[in-house]
């Protein structure tokens, strides 16, 4: 046991390197974001191999940005992700009795205020591990482009939007560099849990003005989102 501890300590110290990152600065960073969502609802069902499911999965790709203030090893900020993807065989309850099923485009925007803490060591020359988290709000908008079941009141000019509230946790690695002008990079893996707050149907036939057709409070929808953010400090 002692041997294992000694070897672990040796590797830990070998990897440890004290490098000072820039401090007490506000900054903006940007990069790419990828999210994999598993959405479960009481009324969204997916037909696959003839079996009914209550879960649909989607993959979205987009842009990730954050505005933050770094104190010393702690950072306070707001992160946002915008993603685009596709949903297959998604079924949405249109009213109390009717369902609409089809394939569609999906887009999501997430706003996530967060606190992030760097661990007191670096890996290699200048990679610092960190963890963080905070509340999150998101808006998922679905456009059913190919209707496979249900009435035709939902067409590709209508948008179904889900407003969600939840929380997210993330771990990551970032470069610790003395000046933000050196554009430190980061990679982050995270998990969000989102519960639906409101479902709305929007008429988007007039691009200048989106009209709200119906909106209601809903608690039937919840989802798990795994995300990866890769980016760098811009200024």
């Amino acid at each position: 046991m002692k041997k294992i501890l000694s070897i672990t300590l040796f590797f830990f110290l070998a990897l440890t390197n004290e490098v000072k990152a820039f401090e007490e600065k506000a900054f903006i960073s940007a990069g790419f974001g990828f999210s994999y969502a598993s959405i479960r609802t009481k009324y969204i069902e997916q037909r696959e191999n003839g079996e009914l499911e209550d879960e649909t999965k989607t993959f979205a790709l987009g842009v990730s940005t954050r505005f933050a203030y770094r104190k010393t090893t702690r950072e306070y900020g707001i992160a946002s992700d915008v993603g685009f993807g596709r949903m297959k065989d998604v079924t949405v309850k249109n009213s109390e009795t009717t369902f609409v099923q089809g394939n569609g485009h999906y887009r999501v925007i997430t706003i996530n205020p967060y606190v992030k803490q760097n661990l007191p060591f670096t890996i290699g020359t200048h990679w610092s591990p960190y963890f963080g988290g905070g509340p999150a709000w998101s808006l998922q908008t679905l456009t059913i482009s190919e209707l496979t079941r249900g009435n035709s009141t939902i067409d590709n000019k209508k948008r179904i939007s889900f407003q969600n509230i939840g929380a997210s946790l993330a771990i990551g690695l970032e470069e610790v560099l003395e000046y933000k002008e050196m554009h430190p990079t980061y990679i982050e893996l995270g998990y969000s849990f989102m519960a639906n707050d409101q479902v709305s149907i929007i008429d988007a036939s007039d691009a200048n003005e989106a009209k709200l057709i119906s909106s209601r409070k809903a608690k039937e929808f919840y989802g798990s989102f795994f995300f990866v953010r890769v980016g760098m400090v811009l200024f």
Binding site: F34, W137, V228
Partner: protein, 241 residues
């Protein structure tokens, strides 16, 4: 799923490798003089245009009073421009009743991507460039844009719709990121000395035409009249007010 994993692994590899390579890259002064040297063939000085002005950004500290004046100017402009740009919507859905109803509310809007991811970032970038032209640093210009944009969302745009979470974040943040790109491109175009490029440079960054733009430098050739070989080789810049 396998393609998803491949993409993640590829990106992870690219980020780790690129940052390591960049960190290990020696600074210009550290490049050894021996060994293979790359030869470049610059244009002879006589073949280059000689622009009269050099465009850059000169940053300076601003007083609180200057910040307030700038905010007041942009806020006044917003009250002037917004009602003129949305006459139909204001006539049909706007007005004092709507203002009272929307005031203090904050929602996720359902606007089309064209508005949220194109129009708002473009307007945010011009706001950022206005502050940059007045000598604010990049992060200060962003912070000033953030305040202007928040004031607009909470007190002007409520004429037609409640303040939107997306607009509050995306207008200054995406706007500033886009603004940095426009800033660099416009400086490149303006410094070519080519009239067409200069026109384009001013078009994408109109703040460079404003009287408060502090980065327009008049180029003055200097010589000590002792070493004729250096004539035309020394350029000095002086700020033209």
């Amino acid at each position: 799923m396998s393609s998803f994993k491949s993409i993640l692994l590829f990106l992870l590899g690219v980020v780790l490798l690129s940052s390591q390579l960049l960190a290990q890259m020696p600074a210009e002064k550290d490049v050894p003089e021996t060994g293979p040297q790359f030869q470049t063939s610059p244009l002879p000085e006589s073949n280059k245009r000689s622009p009269k002005y050099f465009y850059t950004y000169i940053e300076r500290q601003h007083t609180f009073e200057e910040d307030l004046k700038n905010q007041a100017f942009m806020y006044g402009l917003a009250w002037l421009v917004y009602p003129l740009s949305q006459p139909k919507i204001i006539r049909n859905n706007g007005g004092f009743k709507q203002y009272k109803k929307n005031f203090g509310k904050i929602v996720f809007d359902n606007d089309e991507p064209f508005w949220n991811w194109f129009v708002h970032p473009i307007s945010g970038s011009q706001l950022y460039l206005y502050y940059r032209a007045d000598g604010y640093s990049r992060i200060d210009a962003f912070q000033m844009s953030f305040i202007t944009s928040a004031l607009f969302e909470f007190t002007v745009e409520v004429l037609t719709e409640p303040a939107s979470v997306q607009d509050l974040y995306q207008t200054p943040v995406l706007g500033s990121i886009l603004g940095v790109g426009i800033e660099n491109l416009s400086l490149y175009l303006l410094n070519t000395g080519n009239p067409l490029s200069m026109t384009l440079g001013h078009m994408i960054n109109p703040a460079t035409l404003l009287p408060n733009f502090q980065g327009k430098l008049l180029l003055v050739p200097l010589t000590n009249f002792e070493s004729s070989s250096s004539l035309g080789g020394y350029l000095s810049a002086q700020v033209e007010f």
